[in-house]
């Protein structure tokens, strides 16, 4: 029989520490929807998504009710749309974005990811037109998310794509300037993008994935912080142990939800993404975990070390709790989505340069960072290149999700509302990387030996 302490602990985690399953994401392959006639292809895309994901939202809600664990998002990730647009090269792929958005509305999911292109080694047919259409797609749709993979450890970094994405991010922000530039919050530039990530905005269903799959992303920074607070003045070895044990419990809920969703929907279980995903709510912050470890404020010297410990311990605890682990797995540090990061950025304790260092040891990268509206496309490309280099050399996923705050300056704020949050516009280094960015070409893949 389960003991009452364990029961009350679980209830306390849910009621007071924001324990939840962040997302149940259905991955759907659209490879069988490819058609030379773009209208036919869009109809196939819409029909397939609606057929497969018909019961996704209701099933997730049923599971949430039975197990008493909140499931915040129900989402869909699809095959990168550039692969579909390759078959109809003369047509504007924006039609795919519209079809995806309609399918999201019909199925009731809150986001569909996969308006994406994988161009880490070069551009294939479909990639150019898809990337060029991203600003319009993220302007006219509200549920479509986009990502572009511009580098990998095995391929190096495609600097032509890096250059292009600096401009695309700016254009996306410009087109949605009347809505706090929210378009850019739905666009991620990756290095080493995982094919099974359930989290937005970077979710897509990789070409190596099965026809349909259920991936689950867990969360729970509030639970980890509370466990550390309860432990008091223990040494750092104990801190790591507490994080591992807590991550185990959090991940178990994700594994249970994933297995149950997979059974009820008759769709194979893919992976659990062991992530600490913050929200702007009080008590749901990754920055506050770092501060609980002993930093006066996130961004202080020591932040990178605390984050490295946290990220590693979350993986160690979570791996044993799940039969298949994947996605991004680790601690997210999206600035505008984390109450502690927002405060640290406002007080200038947390700077862009510190965040860049933190991305070398966290699960993703420079995430949800508002930069001044006059930041040039070349500077954005420079930031992307730096971030991709960290991912490429360290064999890890890194990403950039920057929001150029059009018409605003450093110190002012953007407010997206909801889980995307709000936050101050951060200072950037204004020196120009223009000549470097305009060279184009590819950064060769790095050595995998002689590691120093």
């Amino acid at each position: 029989m389960i003991n009452s302490h364990d029961i009350l602990e679980t209830i306390n985690m849910i009621d007071n520490e924001n324990l939840d399953v962040r997302t149940v994401t259905m991955g759907i392959s659209l490879l069988d929807c490819i058609d030379g006639d773009i209208d036919k292809a869009c109809d196939k895309v819409y029909d397939k998504i609606c057929r497969y994901a018909k019961n996704l939202v209701r099933t997730a809600e049923d599971i949430s009710k039975e197990y008493g664990i909140p499931i915040i998002h129900k989402r869909i990730a699809v095959t990168p749309a550039a692969m579909l647009s390759a078959a109809c090269p003369t047509k504007n792929p924006i039609k795919f974005a519209k079809a995806l958005n309609r399918a999201a509305d019909t199925t009731g999911v809150n986001f569909v990811g996969g308006y994406s292109a994988l161009v880490h080694k070069g551009f294939a047919p479909g990639d150019y037109s898809l990337i060029e259409s991203i600003p319009e797609a993220l302007d006219i749709t509200d549920k479509v998310c986009s990502s572009v993979n511009i580098g990998s450890t095995r391929a190096g970094i495609n600097m032509d794509a890096v250059k292009k994405m600096g401009r695309i991010i700016r254009q996306t922000a410009e087109r949605t300037a009347d809505r706090d530039c929210i378009g850019a919050a739905k666009l991620v530039v990756f290095c080493n993008a995982p094919e099974d990530n359930p989290f937005m905005a970077g979710a897509f269903h990789g070409p190596g994935e099965p026809d349909c799959v259920i991936n689950v992303g867990v969360s729970g920074p509030g639970v980890v912080r509370a466990a550390l607070a309860k432990a008091g003045d223990c040494n750092i070895t104990d801190v790591a142990d507490i994080v591992k044990k807590t991550a185990f419990k959090i991940t178990r809920t994700g594994q249970l939800v994933a297995k149950e969703a997979s059974k009820r929907l008759s769709v194979p279980f893919g992976i659990v993404d062991l992530s600490l995903a913050p929200t702007p709510a009080i008590g749901d912050s990754v920055a506050h975990i770092l501060e609980e470890m002993g930093l006066e404020q996130c961004g202080a010297h020591g932040t990178t070390a605390c984050l490295a410990l946290l990220n590693d311990a979350v993986k160690k605890g979570g791996v044993m709790a799940s039969s298949h682990v994947g996605g991004l797995s680790g601690a997210f540090i999206p600035v505008t989505e984390d109450a502690g990061m927002i405060d640290a950025a406002r007080s200038k304790s947390l700077t862009l340069t510190k965040l860049e260092a933190m991305t070398a040891v966290c699960s993703v990268g420079l995430d949800m960072i508002a930069v001044p509206g006059d930041t040039s496309a070349e500077i954005i490309s420079g930031i992307i290149a730096d971030e991709a280099a960290i991912g490429m050399v360290n064999s890890k996923t890194t990403a950039v999700r920057l929001i150029p705050a059009i018409g605003k300056k450093s110190g002012e704020e953007l407010n997206f509302g909801g889980l995307l949050g709000r936050g101050p516009i951060m200072d950037i280094n204004r020196k120009s990387p223009e000549k470097f960015i305009n060279r184009g070409g590819r950064i060769p893949a790095p050595m995998q030996s002689l590691k120093n």
Binding site: I2, I7, L8, T10, I11, K65, I69, K249, T253, L256
Partner: protein, 89 residues
């Protein structure tokens, strides 16, 4: 198949009776009850067998949660697997 009902809140007359009545109406068989009152705060944990339940589980959750709200206490009704998953290796 078992569910765990927890009731947390200010102690009042009839909490156990009200929850038990609702369980009986739904055909949920009470297996074990533990309860404690600490400084006026009431905490009850009830294991119920829902195999023979005459209403869908989701409906039982709603009924008991509403009853809890009426009495000014917080009621959680959760499938026991969530606790087994989280607290056993």
């Amino acid at each position: 198949m078992n569910a765990v009902i927890t009731v947390l809140g200010k102690d009042n007359v009839g909490i156990l009776a009200n929850i038990s009545n609702k369980c009986a109406e739904a055909g949920a068989n009470i297996i074990e009850v533990t309860q404690s009152v600490l400084q006026g705060m009431f905490a009850m944990i009830m294991f119920v067998d829902i195999t023979e339940c005459t209403v869908p589980f989701a409906q039982l959750v709603d009924t008991l949660t509403e009853k809890g709200e009426e009495m000014g206490v917080k009621v959680h009704v959760m499938h026991e697997d969530i606790f087994n998953a989280m607290h056993t290796v």
